[in-house]
């Protein structure tokens, strides 16, 4: 259902959701509950497979390790004790949980956005924000050739694996040798990229490119889309405000 929605609406609402989530103060669990319900509703509307969503969004969680020390450094009601005088506190646990939940909700919405929107449509949305055209052009080219170059990188790695099959992992050749081979592959990718850029420049010039990035203008948002956008902003602003006012 969400797949057909205009990308500009989706991008703006996703960012607003993340902003509202970030603005929610620690301890405002009712607000976080509502945000979670909202996220869940959106995921249901997106009709994505639950396993897929869980696996992909879980990938962002290892970074949560960075927040774990708060468990011990925030002072408060003691929870349990580790050797060397580390004491976990209830308040610390809440702080960590707050960060983890916020991160997961944000990743969930960002993931739902990309799972329901082709990147090309997101690029159009970015142009709608009047991002500098040169930057959008570079991003569009990066995206376009990412897959071409990833394939080349994979071919290089396969070739390396095929030729170094007899070398037992960690033995045989020195670390410096392995690093040099890998660096050589990176250099190789850059040179191939530069050659390709040269050919692309020819192809662009052949069709009249003069250095100034141009795009075909997008039709304006429909009234329905604008109403949806306004409604979304209002709801999220209300949630964030409630959190700040009562738990801030």
């Amino acid at each position: 259902m969400l797949h057909q929605l205009d990308a500009r609406v989706k991008v703006n609402l996703t960012l607003s959701f993340i902003l509202a989530t970030t603005l929610t103060p620690p301890g405002a669990w009712p607000v976080l509950t509502l945000l979670a319900a909202l996220a869940l509703a959106v995921v249901i509307l997106a009709e994505l497979r639950a396993r897929f969503v869980l696996v992909r969004t879980a990938l962002a969680l290892p970074f949560a390790l960075a927040a774990l020390p708060l468990l011990f450094t925030v002072a408060g009601t003691p929870l349990f004790e580790l050797p060397w005088g580390w004491t976990a506190s209830w308040e610390g646990l809440l702080r960590v949980a707050n960060i983890v939940v916020k991160t997961w909700l944000s990743v969930l919405m960002a993931f739902t956005l990309t799972a329901t929107t082709p990147f090309t449509a997101i690029l159009v949305a970015l142009r709608g924000w009047r991002l500098p055209r040169l930057l959008v052009t570079i991003v569009a080219l990066t995206w376009r050739y990412l897959f071409v170059l990833v394939e080349e990188a994979q071919r290089l790695m396969r070739a390396r694996a095929a030729r170094s099959g007899q070398i037992v992992e960690g033995r045989g050749k020195s670390l410096a040798w392995r690093a040099r081979v890998t660096g050589g592959m990176a250099g190789n990718l850059l040179l191939r990229g530069a050659d390709r850029a040269e050919r692309i420049y020819s192809a662009m010039s052949a069709r009249g490119y003069d250095g100034e990035p141009r795009v075909v203008a997008q039709p304006p948002l429909t009234a329905g889309h604008r109403a949806l956008l306004a409604l979304g902003y209002l709801f999220l602003a209300l949630l964030a405000l409630t959190g700040i006012l009562f738990w801030g």
Partner: protein, 322 residues
């Protein structure tokens, strides 16, 4: 998967709104200036080169080599991009890479993207440039024109750029109150001191390869320091500032904690708002248990409505197909 293996992409939820906004602002200024300089200094020919080389750096981040016992070396690419393309183009290239990682692969948050761009493109590039140019000069004095001076300078630039960018990342986390400074800074700098070796080695290997292929790809950075003196100075200032601030912050975590507690303009905005909304408007909502129950009820309603909507649409699609 295309996830970048260098753990420096901050997800959303870790940075306070104030820190996010400040670093977005810094990044907008930095990237905006880089765009202006690229428009002025480089020809239209450079546009596809920046785009495709950004894709190449992105793909290059997938390459790895085993170090010992399961750990492996990876590339971030800020130093390599800087040396090959010059600082201004490199800022745009790294911004493009980091931006796509956040938007498409959820590698790094969207609100946190400002800080991530700041760390990996602006700090990464400025510090790389400063280090590379300084090393080049130093080696020039010491050994004259040795062929290995470029890869060696590249190694040092790669290592320093990763290390300093990690310090910036740790400081942002500490400033946001989501990781205590006395843990975050030593941990991040320790991990990235190791990761930086991989970065340096791959950067050096790539430069050696490009040199051996006798390609003129290394031209832009070969320009004299004078042409980019501002970047050189910027890199120096950033590196020195972070190198001094980090141990200070980690020795006095309470100082940062204090900053974190001053949740900036939000706190300022809060006081008057309290006065505007009188207590009796929402009686009992202050009671957290009740509020939670209420939120739960509304939430269940929301989810239910979404499920019904999907079921309704599905049924209609099916009846159309029949």
């Amino acid at each position: 998967m295309l996830l970048s293996p260098v753990p420096m992409h901050i997800p959303d939820g870790f940075l306070s709104v104030l820190v996010s906004v400040v670093f977005w602002a810094l990044s907008v200024v930095g990237v905006g200036y880089a765009l202006k300089r690229v428009n002025e200094d480089l020809g239209e020919r450079q546009v596809p080169i920046m785009g495709v080389l950004a894709a190449a750096i992105f793909a290059g981040q997938m390459l790895n080599f085993s170090v010992t016992g399961g750990t492996s070396g990876h590339l971030l690419g800020a130093a390599l991009a800087t040396i090959v393309l010059g600082p201004w183009a490199a800022v745009l290239v790294m911004t493009s890479v980091v931006g796509i990682q956040a938007v498409v692969f959820q590698d790094g948050g969207l609100l946190a993207l400002g800080a991530n761009i700041f760390n990996m493109s602006i700090v990464g590039v400025a510090v790389s440039y400063f280090t590379y140019k300084s090393m080049q000069r130093l080696l020039q004095q010491l050994v004259k024109d040795q062929p290995w001076s470029i890869p060696v300078s590249g190694f040092v630039a790669g290592w320093v750029s990763i290390f300093i960018a990690a310090l910036a990342c740790a400081l942002q986390l500490a400033l946001s109150g989501s990781s205590p400074a006395n843990v975050a800074i030593p941990a991040m700098s320790g991990i990235h001191a190791l990761i930086g070796i991989g970065e340096g080695l791959i950067t050096a290997g790539a430069l050696a390869f490009i040199l051996a292929a006798q390609r003129d790809l290394l031209q832009p950075a070969a320009a004299p320091v004078g042409s980019h003196r501002a970047v050189w100075v910027g890199g120096l200032v950033i590196a020195v500032l972070l190198a001094i601030l980090s141990p200070l912050a980690s020795a006095h975590p309470d100082g940062l904690e204090w900053v974190a507690e001053q949740r900036g303009f939000l706190d300022l905005a809060q006081e008057p708002l309290y006065e505007i909304i009188p207590d009796y408007v929402l009686p009992g909502i202050g009671n957290e248990a009740l509020a939670t129950i209420l939120a739960g009820v509304i939430g269940v309603g929301l989810v239910l409505a979404a499920t019904l909507a999907v079921a309704y649409v599905r049924r209609r699609v099916q009846s159309v197909e029949v």
